[in-house]
């Protein structure tokens, strides 16, 4: 297993270098770069122009710039943003990446579980009206034009019902009275969610070790998960920063809803198909013949096996999550990586744009790695 992860990390490193090269040369081949802007600015003397270019390292030939850039990435030195001069790109990314991770990990996990559970029961109840209705709704959600969906959500929940904030990722009136950094709260939130996740994993593993009875295992798992969540809620409730965490979560609901709706249907439809295929397998007939209750046949035998292609599909759809992210973040004014990417490209802020692209890439590659490891755990036929 360790060796497998090591190999995968090496692969990721190679992929990353190739990816950085593509990002770098693509962005530099875009017309109207900073040189053009400087060259057409009549207020600059040639000497001033030269010194600015030199300061940004733009006088050297492109391949040399690339090698320097590559070297710098590994020390988190991504240069200085043009548009937020003199803030280093890394500072901007460190501030914004957690927002994106929080938003997308939450939405993706919810979407996966909703899609998994609904796809599973759809296939099990095949032929009923509820199946047709859900499938049609799923296909609509899957193919809907993202901005249309987002505007509808904003209009309905933000404007018509007025229950969720319209835009921004926090309420400035609230935050003005504190010198707390939103970045810190985001990190706390991420930490809380990771801890809950770890607690769930640990209790799952412990339950497997402690008992062989499915019921006992389930009880152990649910109780410890409930305790972990209760502890987290309690901590946030009594902590003085709780209100700020709540503010961020409150602002997060609509974007999470949007991303969930956009991505759950893919999982649901693939799960449904995969489940319908699995039901025909002989081992499902065996499970039935063994006299196992219907639910056990569905969950333990059919869904557990049908899940594998769904995970594969999930990996493939990661790219769409990124492109959807740009639209979602921009429309919700959620200042994460997607919005940064769009703004910096529009502002021709190369260092920031490449930094944003590269860290989005790193995020996706690591998400792949995590999913691959999970897959290897779930499918005993995989050899590392």
């Amino acid at each position: 297993m360790i060796k497998y992860i090591g190999n995968r990390l090496a692969q990721i490193l190679i992929l990353l270098v190739i990816y950085v090269a593509v990002v770098f040369f693509l962005l530099h081949s875009m017309p109207g770069g900073i040189e053009a802007v400087l060259a057409t600015n009549p207020n600059l003397t040639p000497a001033a122009r030269e010194s600015i270019l030199k300061a940004f390292g733009l006088t050297q030939p492109l391949p040399v710039q690339f090698v320097l850039y590559l070297k710098n990435i590994f020390t988190f030195n991504l240069g200085i943003s043009y548009s937020f001069y003199p803030t280093p790109v890394w500072t901007i990314i460190a501030r914004r990446l957690p927002r994106t991770i929080l938003l997308f990990t939450t939405a993706t996990l919810i979407a996966f579980f909703v899609g998994f559970a609904s796809g599973k029961s759809l296939a099990w109840k095949r032929g009923k009206t509820s199946e047709y209705v859900s499938t049609v709704v799923g296909v609509i959600a899957y193919t809907v034009f993202t901005p249309l969906l987002i505007f509808t959500l904003i209009w309905f929940f933000g404007s018509y019902l007025g229950i969720f904030p319209l835009n921004q990722f926090l309420n400035p009136d609230l935050w003005i009275r504190t010198n707390l950094n939103a970045q810190t709260i985001f990190l706390y939130l991420l930490l809380t969610i990771s801890l809950i996740g770890l607690a769930m994993l640990a209790s799952f593993a412990i339950a497997q070790k402690v008992s062989h009875r499915v019921k006992t295992r389930k009880i152990i798992f649910y109780i410890s998960t409930a305790i972990a969540i209760a502890l987290a809620v309690f901590w946030w409730a009594v902590s003085p920063v709780g209100i700020y965490g709540f503010d961020i979560l409150w602002h997060m609901i609509l974007p999470v809803m949007a991303v969930t709706i956009i991505s759950y249907a893919g999982t649901m439809l693939v799960m449904r198909d995969s489940m319908l295929e699995t039901i025909k397998e002989d081992f499902i007939t065996t499970a039935r013949a063994k006299g196992l209750p219907d639910k056990v046949v569905r969950d333990k035998h059919a869904a557990r096996t049908a899940m594998l292609p769904v995970i594969t599909n999930f990996v493939l759809s990661m790219g769409f999550v990124v492109s959807g992210g740009v639209i979602t973040e921009t429309l919700f004014s959620w200042p994460g990586m997607g919005m940064t990417l769009l703004d910096s490209v529009l502002a021709k802020d190369y260092p920031l744009a490449s930094g944003a692209l590269i860290f989005t890439g790193i995020f996706v590659l690591f998400a792949h790695l995590v999913i691959d490891i999970v897959y290897a755990f779930l499918d005993p036929r995989i050899r590392y």
Binding site: R213, A287, A289, K290, L292, H301, T305, L378
Partner: protein, 331 residues
């Protein structure tokens, strides 16, 4: 001898877009305690359909039109799904035709057997169940250490044995073995069949062997039922079936397959194809291939009757036809 399973006038059809496929049509037989019965017939004649009906594992489009299946006096067709789940595996277990794919690829083989045990006997602890699996593994000739392997780590023959061990795991009264050895080579096939027969006699279980090969069945079954096109056409003890076959199809079947033991017979096949079971006509279904078909055979179905004690037949012209059919087939 006490009957343990009585199938009475079972009709199970598949409802398809083009009509009913009469896959099990008016099938009746009795299986006694400790008895081994064989069910023989060409591919597609409804052997699997009949056994699936007994387990009540119906395909989505399957319909039980009429009939009764009495197991220990209770009609299985009238039980609720929960009650039926108690009969499955603990009362009647099955070795499926596709034994190779009968195991779930994501669970350890031993665990899949343990699952059956603890489902039906909740008081058995995990350790006791493991011990039982270990002894079953020894019984079928598998190394108990292999319990913790996954199905893909087993060879075909090992999977077959594991599936047999699984079918024995809840001490069922009846095991239905649907072509338990077709996927294996002849030598392993013979070995496994003999082992199954030995276990069956030792544990005094009832058994239904299903095969298209009457020679294979003859070695293990005391009683043989011949199926043709969804119908049981002849049923008797194996000696009678071999010595005095009365149905032309039975005779044809016997000359279709070389016997493993005994004198070398010439291999003759029955000319023609089995009929399409879709909207099967009300004539003798064997008539198109039968050299003895008369006008009567084309007009109505021969009734399934006891022509002598414990010898059932559905044919208008029962006689000792063996010699004549062989001659006919040879041309």
């Amino acid at each position: 001898m006490k009957p343990i399973l009585e199938v009475k006038n079972l009709k199970m059809y598949y409802n398809t877009r083009s009509g009913y496929v009469k896959a099990a049509d008016d099938v009746s037989f009795v299986l006694n305690e400790g008895e081994a019965m064989g069910l023989v017939g060409e591919s597609g004649c409804g052997k699997t359909t009949t056994s699936m009906a007994i387990m009540r594992l119906l395909a989505e489009n399957a319909e039980i039109i009429s009939g009764h299946i009495y197991f220990k006096g209770k009609d299985l067709l009238k039980l609720s799904e929960e009650e039926m789940n108690k009969v499955r595996w603990a009362g009647i277990s099955m070795i499926f035709q596709a034994a190779m794919n009968s195991l779930n690829p994501v669970y350890r083989v031993g665990d899949q057997i343990i699952e059956a045990i603890v489902t039906h006997e909740p008081n058995v602890t995990f350790e006791e169940a493991r011990e039982r699996v270990a002894s079953l593994y020894k019984l079928v000739g598998l190394d108990p250490k292999r319990m913790d392997n996954y199905p893909h780590e087993y060879s075909g023959g090992m999977k077959q044995r594991a599936v047999i061990a699984m079918s024995l795991s809840c001490n069922p009264d009846i095991i239905i073995a649907d072509e338990p050895t077709t996927a294996l080579d002849v030598i392993v096939q013979d070995m496994i069949l003999k082992e199954m027969s030995r276990i069956q006699k030792k544990l005094n279980m009832s058994m239904i062997y299903i095969s298209h090969d009457i020679a294979v069945i003859a070695e293990v079954a005391e009683k043989i039922g011949i199926m043709y096109a969804g119908k049981l056409v002849e049923l008797s003890d194996s000696v009678t079936i071999f010595k005095k076959p009365a149905h032309p199809y039975t005779v044809g079947l016997m000359s279709s397959f070389p016997s493993i033991k005994g004198e070398k017979k010439e291999l003759v096949t029955i000319p023609g194809e089995p009929p399409n079971l879709l909207n099967a006509p009300d004539s003798c279904r064997f008539a198109p291939r039968c050299p003895f078909a008369t006008k009567e055979c084309w007009e109505k179905e021969p009734p399934y009757e006891e022509i002598e004690p414990n010898h059932f037949l559905a044919c208008f012209h029962p006689q000792n036809l063996r010699k004549q059919v062989s001659e006919y087939a040879r041309g």
